[in-house]
């Protein structure tokens, strides 16, 4: 929202211009909302002055050029002067003539419309052999409009008095304006602030000054009128969506360019000047926030049986040609403005081409109405039309200002286009909501602000922005002004008081609390610990997107349709699905990292991610997709590095990392069923299911050849994915073993078994036996894996365990140890057909 301080000043009783700009901006920021940009126009016109053209003759060598002499009042230094102190300028404009007042850009000045792009500095230079000292400027060059046909003329009619030679341009047409571009978002609930008048009121209020709206805004001033010459039938078929609909016909229009000041103003606030009729509607919209539309009455007649104007719902399939000739097909859900024959405008959004005002227009209908904000918004989104009218209507403009705005528009239409009223003013509305009345306690306000303001102080702040108040029993009775659609709740008054008083003046105090500790989150603390542990063993935490490409899921063997929630409006296919598992995203990060370290002797890493997975069909207590807190990790090494540092299956290194987070409490079983999303990437035979305390938590292993090939994973790659939430609940506290006062004896036990015998089966059997012995005779023990050996081509393997034994009451003798080890060998022999070596 571009606020023109000149325009605000014109309608303000408060002297805004005397407030230092820095202070004004600081207050706007602190009490109204963020300032996006500040544009000071005066410097753009520095050195540019008003001159009178004294003589004007044809250029000797160019038909379209004139050679003029101009009078600058003799004030410009260092410029070539001829007879009578006049200055020679060559001009290409067809409208230049002797005696006109024009705008001169002396040598050394910059052409204003080139300032932001490629600044063009004027000089004295020859044009076809004749010296031109600077130039006379067109509206385009002065950033008034797009008009480049002729030079800007300052006649008495435009200026109102005879211009003074030599005066700076900034003394005219409001060209010394100052624009404050406020962020639209903060005005979402302030429809009135989409008009300069509303902002002018706030500028007074935040400076502690009382604003007084102009008379025309408070009461509608319609002229007495009897002479109904141009008839129009106005009806409202949808009062629920169009709370108020007003229209009037005006005749004897002369369509032409608007006065220079108006064109310049519109350009400064970002609206393109078109012609006086359209410009007046835009000017009033920018002033009051109420969009207006002007229809060509005679064209409208052509498209009516009987001249008529009415809002109604569109018909499905109905066509409408918009301004700019774009034709749209309506769906039956838009509000349109129609005659009794057809739709002619998209209500609140854009006018139609068939009834557009053009240079031949003689009579117009002005529409001033209120439309349902939600409907306007939907229509705007449906057709991608984001006009100034939409910006305002979708904040819900007050129907209570339609009449004053229309009356003012008629006056201005007369002033700028010679228009005369030609019909009654139609005003169709049902029960209009009256402004909200509220009673708000002074204590209520102070309690929420932390302030200590009196009823009088509060009232003054509110009265400054024309919110009427009276106080009774420490309660402030308020009637919202008719333009304030946002004041509904007592909290809205809290906001007004706080803002107008200044939040920076409020007492700042920390809330009081007891010393009761805030509860910690077990899961977050667990995640923190997991990060610390894994980083300490050389792993790198990554984070990847929660969304995933369907192809990546397929590459890892996961059927997206079955397992993943589909995102229907993703900007990119990379974000098509919610991931049902973290592993695919993690695997997708492997190849690039291997590649970027290519050539390194130590090209290996372990990456892990802690994140959420969502598996389609799994719901939580809220009936929403269950959020599974997962940890996934991948270890990998390129072939060269793997050969140098590692041996055999990468599975075993992944398992070592797994035991960091399971604190070696995991139990694993062979992965048989790989039909879950989380198990899909893993290769049977080299993968297992992870359980802790009997509860299944995840999967660990190497990846299927298809997965490795599709994602270019090195052969030495393995990983796991585990449910952290469940893991945290299942992990048991470590059990303390009292230290032993007597020395520990160690002995290796090597058993030869069939290759098919699992290590774990043997170890468990040994454990069971030792535990039994401990129970019986009090020996403490430990079993440490030592070696696994198999001769080539052999169907046997040798498992070596280092058995540590001790006793809390004695030092063990060798024979005693030998006996115990022998007993272990016997058990193994019986159970596994194992041979002690």
């Amino acid at each position: 929202m571009k606020v023109s301080i000149n325009l605000a000043q014109e309608f303000s009783n408060v002297d805004l211009k005397s407030i230092p700009r820095d202070e004004l901006l600081q207050r706007v920021g602190a009490q109204l909302g963020a300032v996006e940009e500040v544009i000071d126009w005066a410097p753009k016109y520095e050195g540019i002055i008003i001159v009178k053209v004294i003589t004007c003759a044809s250029h000797p060598d160019a038909d379209k050029l004139s050679v003029c002499t101009i009078d600058d009042g003799g004030i410009t230094p260092d410029v070539n002067r001829g007879e009578n102190n006049l200055i020679q300028v060559v001009c290409g404009a067809p409208n230049v003539y002797a005696g006109m007042f024009a705008v001169w850009l002396p040598p050394g000045t910059i052409v204003p419309n080139t300032l932001n792009t490629d600044p063009f500095v004027l000089e004295a230079r020859e044009i076809r052999g004749v010296v031109s000292n600077g130039m006379l400027a067109s509206a385009k060059e002065l950033v008034i409009s797009d008009d480049h046909e002729g030079v800007v003329e300052l006649n008495r009619k435009e200026v109102g008095f005879e211009p003074k030679i030599g005066e700076p341009l900034t003394n005219y047409f409001g060209m010394d304006d100052f624009i404050i571009d406020c962020e639209n978002k903060m005005f979402t609930h302030r429809p009135d602030c989409f008009g300069n008048l509303g902002v002018a009121r706030e500028l007074a209020g935040i400076n502690g000054l009382a604003f007084k709206s102009p008379d025309w805004y408070i009461k509608p001033h319609f002229e007495d009128f009897q002479d109904q010459v141009l008839e129009i039938l106005v009806e409202n078929k949808i009062p629920d969506l169009v709370p108020r609909f007003m229209a009037v016909v005006m005749k004897n229009i002369e369509v032409k360019k608007s006065p220079v000041w108006l064109q310049a103003l519109l350009t400064r606030v970002g609206i393109k000047p078109i012609n006086n009729v359209v410009d007046v509607t835009n000017y009033i919209m920018h002033l009051t926030a109420q969009p207006l539309h002007a229809f060509d009455y005679d064209k409208l007649k052509v498209y009516s049986n009987e001249p008529s104007l009415m809002p109604r719902m569109s018909k499905k399939g109905e066509k409408l040609k918009l301004l700019g000739q774009k034709e749209i097909e309506l769906t039956g859900e838009e509000i349109v403005i129609a005659t009794d024959k057809q739709a002619i405008a998209l209500a609140g959004v854009m006018g139609g081409a068939d009834t557009e005002v053009d240079e031949n227009t003689n009579n117009i209908v002005i529409e001033c109405a209120s439309f349902d904000m939600y409907s306007v918004r939907r229509t705007s989104m449906r057709y991608g039309l984001f006009t100034d009218a939409v910006t305002r209507f979708n904040k819900s403009q007050s129907p209570l200002q339609n009449n004053v705005v229309l009356a003012f528009a008629m006056k201005k239409m007369h002033e700028f286009a010679g228009a005369e009223q030609a019909s009654d003013v139609a005003d169709i509305h049902g029960d209009l909501k009256s402004p909200v009345a509220l009673v708000v306690g002074v204590d209520f306000i102070n309690a929420r602000l932390g302030s200590n303001l009196s009823a009088d102080e509060m009232s003054q702040l509110l009265n400054n922005v024309e919110i009427e108040t009276h106080t009774k029993d420490n309660n402030i009775h308020i009637v919202a002004p008719f333009w304030r659609m946002d004041i509904i709740l007592p909290e809205d008054i809290v906001e007004e008081v706080g803002r107008l008083y200044g939040y920076d003046k409020l007492p700042v105090k920390l809330p009081k609390r007891t010393i009761k500790p805030a509860k910690k989150s077990e899961l977050l603390e667990f995640k923190h610990n997991m990060r610390q542990r894994l980083a300490a063993v050389g792993a790198n935490e990554v984070i990847t997107y929660s969304f995933i490409h369907g192809d990546l899921l397929k590459k890892t063997g996961i059927d997206p349709d079955r397992w993943a929630y589909h995102v229907r409006n993703a900007i990119s296919p990379d974000l098509q699905y919610y991931r049902p598992s973290l592993m695919p995203s993690l695997l997708a990060k492997v190849h690039a990292n291997i590649k970027s370290q290519a050539g390194s002797d130590d090209n290996r890493f372990a990456i892990f991610e802690i994140g959420k997975a969502h598996v389609k069909g799994h719901e939580d207590a809220e009936k929403l997709p269950e959020q599974m807190d997962r940890l996934a990790l991948v270890v990998t090494a390129d072939d060269k590095t793997a050969k140098r540092y590692h041996f055999g299956a990468s599975y075993y290194l992944a398992r070592k990392y797994l035991q960091v987070i399971t604190k070696s409490q995991d139990e694993i079983t062979i992965l048989e069923d790989d039909s879950y999303s989380v198990t899909a990437p893993f290769q049977k035979g080299r993968s297992s299911i992870i359980a802790v305390n009997g509860v299944l938590l995840g999967v660990i292993g190497e990846f299927r050849p298809e997965v490795r090939s599709a994602l270019k994973l090195p052969e030495y790659s393995a990983g796991f994915e585990i449910d952290l939430n469940l893991l945290q609940k299942q992990l048991r506290a470590q059990i303390y073993q009292p230290l032993n006062p007597y020395p520990k004896s160690q002995q290796d036990l090597t058993l030869e078994v069939e290759t098919s015998v699992l290590w774990d089966a043997v170890q468990k059997e040994l454990f069971k036996t030792l535990a039994f012995i401990k129970n019986e005779q009090g020996y403490n023990f430990e079993i440490v894996p030592k070696d696994i050996f198999s001769r080539a081509e052999s169907e046997k393997k040798r498992l070596t365990f280092r058995i540590g034994l001790s006793h809390p009451e004695k030092t063990l003798k060798t024979e005693e140890v030998n006996k115990l080890i022998e007993r272990l060998a016997e058990v193994a022999g019986k159970q596994f057909n194992a041979l002690r070596i």
Partner: protein
């Protein structure tokens, strides 16, 4: 060559015969017959496995060479998943962790943890946000009427089921308010911060991510006011930046707070840049007094209880702190980036 195992021998013969007729010779390696041998392997008694496996591998290697040097990755033989390491692993190549100095924790996670740590010391609980939610929590419970233009600012991702990828951590407000309502009524203010991942359906560039992290805060009690809000956020900032900083509120609009603000602090010394007015301040958060309708939606009486809420992004803090030039690095998974933290 001949195979001792009759099954392997038969399959070998059939596949050799098939090979000539195949348009793409590599397809032979995907033949179900070959796969069948591997499946069969798993069912064999242990004593038969070694030889059978060896012959199957030989067959495959042969087919592989016949098929041309296609990059076909071999399916490896089953291993003893319960063992601590592979058979015949030499002592110097036992599975061992990578060097400690190579490990790292993601900078965003480090920052979230240190921020939460400060709030915890201030007496706040920490609850994680959701990554998938419904319209009620994301909009309705936060006083965004359906069709309201305030929703325009949220380009939300949606699933086929109409579920939403939250665009702000405020999606948790209603849950948190309801969860702690009882203790509020026992006289304990609700004090919770909510870190979480949020999503905006927009294109990526050096300063824009569709996925980023926010931290939401909620404080509700009796007599809680705007002055408390300023003080609380100010106290956090002073601790976070280890410096006493001036603070500033700018009026703003959010449907779920009334009044609403943008909270700015004086730019900390460590982050100083230019000398313009804009350079003096850092806008870090959106905040405000919780809208009475939001409290009512959680069955909390706004006549008795008032509170404030705030929310801000994490990435920007981390980027400023380390001078990170591109927001996309965070989710890139690049070790070159991650190992610097």
């Amino acid at each position: 060559m001949s195979y001792q195992n009759p099954d392997v021998a038969r399959v070998a013969e059939e596949l050799m015969a098939k090979l000539d007729s195949l348009p793409d010779k590599k397809l032979i390696l995907r033949d179900p017959l070959l796969r069948g041998l591997f499946d069969q392997l798993k069912t064999l008694p242990p004593q038969e496995r070694a030889l059978f496996g060896k012959e199957v591998n030989e067959l495959r290697l042969k087919l592989n060479s016949l098929a041309g040097d296609g990059i076909v990755i071999e399916e490896q033989l089953p291993i003893d998943i319960t063992a601590p390491w592979d058979v015949n692993t030499p002592v110097d190549k036992m599975p061992d962790f990578f060097p400690t100095e190579q490990g790292s924790i993601h900078p965003l996670m480090q920052e979230i943890e240190s921020i939460c740590n400060i709030y915890q010391r201030m007496g706040f609980m920490v609850e994680e946000s959701r990554e998938i939610d419904d319209d009620f929590h994301m909009f309705e419970s936060l006083n965004f009427p359906a069709g309201h233009p305030a929703r325009d600012d949220y380009d939300t991702f949606m699933t086929d089921e109409g579920l939403i990828a939250p665009a702000h951590t405020s999606t948790m407000q209603n849950r948190v308010l309801k969860k702690y309502k009882d203790s509020l009524e026992q006289g304990e203010p609700i004090a919770v911060v909510i870190p979480g991942r949020v999503f905006r359906n927009e294109d990526l560039d050096v300063t824009h991510e569709h996925t980023f992290y926010q931290l939401e805060g909620v404080y509700v009690g009796e007599g809680v006011n705007v002055g408390n809000l300023i003080a609380t956020l100010g106290a956090f900032m002073n601790e976070y930046f280890s410096q006493q900083l001036k603070t500033k509120l700018q009026p703003f609009y959010f449907p779920f707070t009334e009044p609403s603000f943008e909270f700015a602090i004086e730019r900390p010394t460590a982050l100083k840049k230019g000398n313009t007015e804009a350079d003096q301040w850092l806008e870090l958060l959106g905040c405000g007094m919780i809208h009475p309708k939001v409290l009512k939606m959680a069955d909390i009486d706004p006549e008795i209880y008032t509170g404030f809420a705030w929310g801000g992004g994490i990435e920007r803090l981390v980027m400023m702190k380390h001078g990170i030039e591109d927001i996309r690095h965070f989710e890139s998974g690049k070790l070159e980036f991650l190992r610097q933290f």
